[in-house]
Amino acid sequence: MTKNFRLILILFFLIFLNPIYVNSCDRAYNPSKITVAGGSITEILYFLEEQSKIVAVDLTSNFPEETKKFPSIGYVRNLSAEGVLSLKPTLVIGEDDMGPPDVVNQIKKTGIDIIILKEEHSSEGIIDKIKCVGEIIGEREKTIDIINNKIMPIKIELDNLSKNLKNQNIKVMFILTMDSGSPIIGGKDTSADGFIKMIGARNAFDSFEGWKPVGTESIIDAAPDIILISNRGAHSYKNLENMHNHPTVKYTPAAINRNIIALDGMQMLGFGPRTIETALYLSKKFQMIENN
C-alpha cells in the first residue's frame, strides 16, 4: 500500500509539477533503449561501454566518431517532442541545457522516463555525472570500478598539479570565436572558467560573467599568458601561425611566446571523461611553459 502510494506521489510530481531539473540518479525503470541529449552523456555511455543501449543522440554528441551512426534528434536546446520519441526510447537522458522547456514538459507528460543531469564545471562534477549515469542505467558497481581505475588516478595527479602555486599565476584567456569583430571570451561562471580552474590556472577575465565580446585594448591590458581556443573558433585562421599574428591577440604575452593552444571544443568544455584528461594534459603543459 505505502509503496503504491509513493509511486502515485512520484507520478503526481512528474506529471503535474514538472520540475525541469529533476537531478535524481535513481535507477531508471527500463534503461534498455536510451535517447541521449548531450554530448558528454553519450561520451560517458561509451566510456562505460554501454553504447549498445543508445538508440538516438543529439547533434552535440560527436565523440567518438562512431556516434554518427545513430539517428539524430537535432540540437540539444531545440528538440522536438515527436523527434525524441520517434525511436521509442524507454529512457531519455539530457544535459541541463536540454530544451526548450515546453518540449521537455511534453515528453514528461507522455510518461516516458526522462532524466536531466545537473552540470557542474569541475572534476568532481564530472565524476558525479559519470556515477549518476551509471546508477541510472543500473550499472552502479561497474561504474564505480571504472571510475576508480580510469578517472581517479587522473584526478589525483591533476589535484596534485593544481596545488602547485606556480600554475595559479598563469593567466588564461578562453576564446570562443573571433568572427564577430571583438573576440568572444569566457568570463566568470562559464564552462570555460570552470575548465581553467580545473587546470589550476587563473581566468584572465573573471571580472565579468558569461561569454562577452572583449576589445583589443582590454585583451592587451589583461595580458594573458596562454590563450585557449576551440578548433572551430580557430577555423578562420588556416593554421595557428596566422592566429598568432591576428591583430587582436598579437600583442599579448601568449602570442609573443607562441602559447596559443587550439583543441576540440567538446574535449575541453563538454565536461565528460575527456575534459578531465585534457585538463591534466594542459596542466602538465602549463607547468612546462612556466618552467621555461
Binding site: S180, G181, V214, G215, H235
Partner: protein
Amino acid sequence: MLSIINLKFLNSAQSFILFFLLILLLLVLIVSFSLGSYSFPVLSILMGNTSAIEATIFTEIRVPRVILAAIVGASLSVSGACLQGLFRNPLADPGLIGVSAGAALGASTIIVFGSSLTSAFIFSTFLLPLSACLGSGLVILMLFLLTRGFGHQGVTYMLLVGIAVNAIASVGIGILTFISSDSELRSLTFWTMGSFGGITWSLLIPALIIIFISFLFLLPILRNLDILQLGESEAKRLGVNVKSLKYRIIFASAASVGASVSLSGMIGFVGLVVPHLLRLLSGVNHTYVVIGSALLGSSLMVFADLLSRLLIQPAELPVGLITSAIGSPFFLWLIFRINKI
C-alpha cells in the same frame, strides 16, 4: 572639395549648426582618442616619450578603431539622407534597398562555412569583409536587373523590389542561423549588433578610400535632390537628369554602406534617424542635411563606440545597442518638442 559643394544654399542658422557639429565632432574625436580600457596619457604619446606597447595600442588599435567608427557613422547617415531624398520617403534607410541584408548574408556565410572555405585562402582576415561586400554588391546587381536599371516605373516600384530582395536575403540568413553551431550562432548574433573591434589599417584603408570616393560622387548632386522633391517629372522638366541622379545615389550608397557594414557589422537606426534630427533642427535643404548627417553621424558613432569600449570594460557592449539606446529617446524628445512649437 568645396568647389563641388554649393554652400550658398545654406542659410545662416544652417551654417551655424554645421559649424557647431564640426566642433562637436572634433571634441568627440579628441575624447575618444584619449580614453580606452588600456589607460595611459595620450599627450605623452604625442610628445614621443612613452613605452612601445602604449604607442602600439594608440596607433595600431585605438586610432584605426575611432576612424572606422567615424566613417561608418558618416556613410550610414549620408546614405540614409540621400536615399530618403531620392525615394521621397522618410522611412528609407540603407537597410531598405537591401545593402545591409546582402552584407549580412555574405558575412554569415563566412561565419558558418568559413571552416571549409578558408583552407584555400591565406589572408583570412580579409575574407569576411570581402564576402560581406560581395553580398551587398550582388543585392544591388539584383535590384538593378529587376528594375531594369532602376528606371522602370519610378521609385515606388524600386522600393517594393528592395523589400522583396531584403526578404530573400533574410531567408538565406535564417537558413544559416538554423544550421550554425553554438559558437557560430553567437558570432552571428553579435555581428548583427555591430562592433568596431579587430580593425587594422590594412582593412581600414580600402574602406576609407571607397567611402571617400562615394562621397565625392554624392556631393555635387545635392541641389538636384532638392529639386527632385517636386516630383520626378517636374524635376525632369527643370533640367535634372533623374536617371544619373538615381545611379549616383544608389551606387554610392551601396558602395559606402557595403564597405562600412562589412567591417562593422549591422548598425541600425543611425542611417534612419540622423537625417531626421537635422531636418527637425533646421529645414530640409539637402546641402545642409547631407553634410550635417556626415558630421552628426560620425560624432554619434564615435561617441557610441567610446561608450561601448568603456561602460562594462573589460567586456564590450555591442555598438548597435548603444546607438539605438542613446538615439531613440532623444529622437522621441525632439519630435514631441517640435510638435509643441
